[in-house]
Amino acid sequence: MATSKPRVKVPKTASAGETVVIKTLISHEMESGQRKDKDGNVIPRKIINRFTCEFNGQPVFSCDIDPAISANPYFEFSAKVPESGTFKFTWVDDDGSTYTDEQKIEVK
């Protein structure tokens, strides 16, 4: 099956306490479970059902996802950066697999 490749945009630097904008995309068909194949059988649901963002192990933002979210889910949100550190992004698939990405940010 297709690999789900995440892409993330995080600024490289921020000032201490600054709120920055983060953008994330992951390639995924987000099969809704409502479509039928050509023989009339329901195509089973297979979506990314949860997305989380942590900073140095602390939760920043998360999203519980239903099948109405578009293919290649996109999330844009903000994060307050108290210190230099690492953002960790996690996407959870219905099939149990998880996809992750990490981005460092430096406080100047």
């Binding site: 945009k9 953008k23 995309l25 996109y74």
Partner: protein, 541 residues
Amino acid sequence: VGKWSRAAAQQALSEDVLLEFEPFGNLTLVHITDIHAQLMPVYFREPSINLGAGAAAGLPPHVSGSDFLKLYKIEPGSPHAYTLTSEDFAALAKTYGKMGGLDRIATIIKRIRSARGDNMLLLDGGDTWQGSYTSLKTKGQDMVDAFNALAPDAMTGHWEFTYGADRVQEIIEGLSFPFLGGNIYDAEWNEPAFDAYKMFEKGGVKIAVLGQAFPYTPIANPRWMFPNWSFGIREEDVAKNVESARAEGAELVVLLSHNGFDVDRAMASRIEGIDVILTGHTHDALPEPVLVGKTLLIASGSHGKFLSRLDLDVRGGEVKGFRHRLIPVFSDVITPDADMTKLVADLRAPYEAELKRELATTQGLLYRRGNFNGTFDDLICQALLEVREADIALSPGFRWGTSVLPGQAITVEDLHNACAMTYPAAYRSTMTGQMLKDILEDVADNLFNKDPYYQQGGDMVRVGGMGYAIDPEGAMGSRVSKMTLLKTGEAIDSAKEYAVAGWASVNEATEGPPIWEVVETYLTSHKVVTPEENRSVEIIG
């Protein structure tokens, strides 16, 4: 209302009278829009029906024919009656001649430039690169070359995008002026893809020109041609850009808009701080500005028929006064600019023989504009019904396309003025009566929705082989009734399938010959066409 026309009517038509303008204030805006690639003078009949919905009903520009003449106190049969309305059009066209032509437009612009020096901005509202045989053949290059010579200060766009994202980017990189569009976003990363505004300083005044492209370009035109761009009205972005332009010191804020007039009217009432909106897209020509709060709305027509000149007195960050004229470009009266005449001739030379080729003669007036019908679209629908052997034909309600007078030959150029575009396939498919009804209802709601932000600014889809009744004031889904198959007189059955031919599908990989081939086949086999008044659409309510 009215002063403009009385002054004009008292005077004979001459270049000096047309262009005479006592300069006012400290700077001049010149606006041209929706020229639709017409390099040469043309005939263009304004609509006889142009209904407004909701709050805009009955207000300019939703006034046409004799009502328009009365509103602006224009004498029937006068030069201005000819340019601004459909009244007596064919006869007046013979008296007053063709309108526009880029060499005449160049003369007017040069004259204003020489009077105002550098204290002038020339702004192009878009729909510039598409609409003619030569623009299609050159992928807009003829218009780009001609407008580079006119040297506008900025433009925005709509049909430009139908040359595809790569071509648009290629052209923009070579433009000597900015292409502005604050409402165009990168669809993947949700960020602005074009500059929203540019600051100028003219006559000691800091001016911000904001560009607003047609918000519904990816819906009205094929999205697959520019998949990475997202549009939309994005009112909050316009407001934010006005604010940041003011913060940068703008004393005058001008919105160069391709929203369509009713959207601009609403936007002017909802966003503070816009001094002037140069409107476009809906092809309205108004002899006087419409004032909404403190915002002046200017409507400069289409196809090169008009330029608007707006002189402004801006002091202390405020518009203290203005003087406006909608300048009609009478091609027989205004001296062509020799340099531009030569440039246009050079651009057209490779295609001249084909442009002149005659396909048939028309016994009546061929025109397109009107909310429900136009004889040129009736002709296209007839060609689709006959050549593609269909029960029903659909032709999109475009507002561009020139007119052909009774007795004239229909040339390849005339035909292309009505259908030159990059997705011309004339498809043939089967649709149920229900699908046809859904299409008509959907298009009607895009035209007559009471909230202008939900309007797309075209005209109603033109239908051949089927009659219907429409109540423009009705609710979504209940405007259209009495759908009738004309060849049998029977009511359309929602479950039955009909053979439908049409063109300009926004779907990728639509199959069929280009529409101009279909119409050429029809014209050359008939030799003479006789357009008649279309009685198959009944307006009710």
